[in-house]
Point group: C2
Chain length 148, copies 2
Amino acid sequence: MKERYFEDLKIGDTFKSQAYQVGEDQIVSFAREFDPQPFHLDRAVADKTMFGGLFASGWHTAAITMRLFVQTLNFAEGAIGLGVDELRWPNAVRPDDVLQVETEILDVRESRSKPTHGIIRIRNVTTNQRGEIVQTMFASALVSRRTK
Amino acid sequence: MKERYFEDLKIGDTFKSQAYQVGEDQIVSFAREFDPQPFHLDRAVADKTMFGGLFASGWHTAAITMRLFVQTLNFAEGAIGLGVDELRWPNAVRPDDVLQVETEILDVRESRSKPTHGIIRIRNVTTNQRGEIVQTMFASALVSRRTK
């Protein structure tokens, strides 16, 4: 699989990730460790909420999005997150949903403080198998330059 | 432990979470599942980066912060995340760091669309055992009202 460097990206490039299915067991085990609220843990409780059933923690959706993004872009020396803005979860992720991430490169610029690196600005949109948006976010990340 | 409702919170309230120690095994296993980049997985690779050693995925820090926030505020019927802004990781989380979250209530308002709920705006600041800030964020969440 092709490894990417800063120079390989230009504004307007888009990338589509592979698909990732989220099982009910994973939703519950992530929640037990990181977001132990009853509607993420217990189907009977979740059925009575406005969501009408078990759904994943937004942080679980965010973590899965990171996995898909990292695997798709495959930066030669990784991408170091500088910050995330406007992280939103417009629809819930439910057991057995199949998620996919589309990444758009919004900006690319050389790093002033780290001349071996560049800074990219991206938008990640995560959708489910019906094309409904389950997460949107903007992020900036530091990635290695090929020519150092 | 006291369960909280929307009415129990007012602007300016602050809450300090319990402490949470992050082991090297947890850093690696979270990264393997959600952020499989070499500097989160392999100590030898991480030693050669600008971080000079293994460090946690920012999404792992975010997930731990959620756990500490949820346990501290202990909302009677949970808190549903509406969105997160300006998520930043000014310092890396390293093996055996002990994290703690301070939550400040920035705003409280009734929900127009869901009269059974209110919307809170918070700031979460996550620090390590040396008092260094490892994460900051703003968030909005939907929480239940006592009087319905």
